[in-house]
């Protein structure tokens, strides 16, 4: 049989410089986003829940808030950050769900068979999740404005609030992505994104930090969410507070770095050839 009629033009392998990590992250992030935006049914519930809670909290506690000391402005400005933070939590699962679907469908293996940078496999779903979180937080802020929110720091302050929500979400996403890589199962990943849920309440959730006492105060002081809430509340109700913003960014970065390390470990376990 004459099999070698044509000879493939093949470049010498391993000579060509592989694409840089940012390019790989960008390509895979765009892929994740394309895929995510084609399942709007998965994206809407977190936004709907955030807005639902915002309306409920405001309607239930809005009037009583006059008697709570230390709100430092409107109760809406006080409670809207909670809505954004819980959105960061539920939204962080989106990135991981996308990843776990790739694993289940075998697309992840297909990517592993390319010269893709391993770190891009982690960062891409996290970045895609961050973009979704940003949109989500912007929608919540917009709803807040409709409800009568008057942010003390204006437009820039609102952007800062959204940015903090995204930054916090990146840390959570690192955790859910680790769960996705570790378990390879959609159910386990779903479960993992609920693990952080109680954290929202081990914080100055409904009243200022100064009113918490005992173990809850200790827990709240260890919880990065506390610092994010404080900074967001300052931005919306009192004004620019460099100290609060700096502390919250550090808290978010600390969480993100720790969770990214966990994710790197989970990835190395998943892609270890056995």
């Amino acid at each position: 049989m004459d099999t070698n009629m044509y000879v493939l033009p093949i470049e010498k392998p391993a000579v060509k410089k592989p694409l840089s990590l940012p390019v790989h992250v960008f390509l895979l992030t765009m892929r994740s986003l394309t895929s995510l935006l084609r399942t709007p049914e998965a994206l809407l519930p977190p936004i709907a829940i955030s807005i639902f809670f915002l309306v409920i909290y405001q309607s239930t506690l809005g009037k009583a808030a006059g008697s709570i000391p230390g709100i430092g402005g409107s109760y809406l400005g006080f409670i809207l950050p909670l809505s954004i933070v819980s959105g960061s939590l539920s939204g962080s699962g989106i990135a991981a769900q996308n990843l776990v679907r790739d694993i289940e469908r075998g697309y992840f293996d297909k990517l592993l068979l390319t010269p893709v940078r391993r770190a891009a496999l982690l960062l891409a779903p996290i970045m895609a999740g961050a973009v979704i979180l940003g949109i989500q937080a912007a929608i919540v802020v917009a709803v807040g404005l409709i409800m009568g929110l008057k942010p003390a720091t204006g437009f820039l302050g609102m952007l800062a609030v959204i940015g903090l929500g995204v930054l916090l979400g990146i840390g959570f996403a690192g955790f859910t992505v680790s769960a996705a890589l570790g378990s390879g199962s959609a159910a386990a990943t779903q479960g993992a994104s609920f693990l952080f849920f109680p954290l929202t309440f081990l914080a100055p959730t409904f009243v200022p930090l100064s009113l918490l006492s005992g173990w809850l105060e200790v827990a709240a002081k260890l919880n990065p969410i506390t610092y994010v809430l404080e900074a967001m509340r300052a931005l919306l109700n009192t004004g620019w507070d460099g100290n609060a913003i700096g502390t919250s960014i550090l808290a978010c970065l600390g969480l993100a770095v720790a969770m990214y390390a966990l994710a790197v470990f989970a990835l190395s376990v998943r892609t270890r050839r056995t």
């Binding site: 049989m1 694409l19 084609r38 075998g106 390319t114 050839r273």
Partner: protein, 334 residues
């Protein structure tokens, strides 16, 4: 070392644990440049494990494998560059469109956007998916998904292509499409192809060399024609009403032929001049009061080779269907 060869030496893969499972047990073979090599065996025989080792997704416990001249353990990145892979489970994101998947794949292999797009168009034409270019992969039929997966495996212009059960789960028509595609890739582009299958007719149809693997060991290897010729005998196949009657029939006929085989209600009597022996066979059975339901005469097939070397029939329900289809086609040809 030629750059389109596959060389496998003493390959072993065992999974530690309480019940130590050895999925691949000392396998040796060589696939020559530009050939199609068929790895034939039942489910769980070690086919997929072998392909996973050769494509760098799994590590061997011991032994060595070279793909296109690169060691699958120490030169995994090079192996990935020269070898295309379509695994049994099709790895496609159903929400993405074929063009998007192909362009991304190309870019991850280092091509520019323009080059990756041109290559994607070329490949979609090659596997005849240009019509479906703007549809999400999730809407494709099984056959179309296989062809897209095949295109994805070809993005980096591989010299060697690994196909893990490329037609499992496909209807006979789609199966023929895939076969045609595989043959074309091999003949027109000179790509060496390693394919696993549990369908005898697939191996017979496509492969230059077939290796039969059972329980992790290769039990026979050679061209389909050689394997069949090695059988050297025809057979008379007698189907009885019950396995018990078949057993009696076998006892009666045993002295006549070179050997006999009992497979549930069917007795196979192997002998060199089968047609001439039919009257004697019937006579002997009648003397014992036995009457077979049917009697057929067959030339050796790969199926017989398999039964001979593996001691069991290769049962795949879909294979049975398509075998029927094929015999029908043969009749039509006549």
């Amino acid at each position: 070392m030629k750059d389109r060869e596959i060389i496998v030496e003493d390959l072993v893969k065992s999974y530690p644990g309480k019940s130590k499972v050895t999925a691949v047990d000392g396998v040796n073979f060589k696939v020559d440049e530009g050939k199609i090599f068929g790895f034939l065996g039942p489910n769980g025989a070690g086919k997929s494990t072998t392909i996973k080792i050769l494509t760098t997704l799994a590590l061997p416990s011991s032994g060595r494998a070279l793909v296109g001249g690169f060691d699958v353990v120490s030169q995994a990145t090079d192996v990935r560059r020269v070898a295309g892979v379509a695994l049994q489970e099709i790895g496609i994101d159903p929400l993405m469109k074929s063009m998007e998947l192909l362009v991304l794949q190309g870019r991850l292999f280092g091509a520019s956007k323009a080059v990756a797009t041109a290559r994607a168009r070329e490949l979609l034409e090659l596997v005849q998916l240009t019509e479906a270019i703007d549809r999400r992969a999730g809407t494709y039929s099984g056959g179309m998904r296989r062809r897209l997966d095949l295109a994805l495996a070809l993005v980096q212009q591989p010299r060697i292509l690994f196909l893990d059960e490329p037609t499992t789960g496909l209807d006979p028509a789609s199966r023929r499409d895939v076969w045609r595609e595989v043959r074309r890739l091999n003949r027109e582009l000179g790509i060496t192809i390693f394919l696993t299958t549990q369908y005898l007719e697939e191996a017979d149809e496509l492969a230059d060399t077939v290796a039969i693997i059972v329980a992790g060991k290769i039990v026979a290897e050679g061209s389909p024609a050689k394997l069949k010729a090695a059988m050297g005998e025809e057979s008379i196949n007698l189907v009885f009403e019950t396995p018990e009657l078949a057993e009696k029939g076998r006892a009666t006929l045993e002295p006549m032929g070179n050997r006999t085989q009992l497979d549930r209600d069917t007795v196979r009597l192997y002998l060199s001049k089968a047609a001439g022996s039919i009257p004697t066979v019937i006579n002997r059975l009648q003397n014992e009061g036995l009457a077979p339901i049917s009697l057929t005469l067959t030339q050796p097939t790969l199926d017989d080779v398999f039964l001979q070397v593996a001691g069991q029939r290769l049962v795949a329900s879909e294979a049975v269907n398509s075998r029927k289809t094929r015999s029908k086609e043969r009749e039509e040809v006549k």
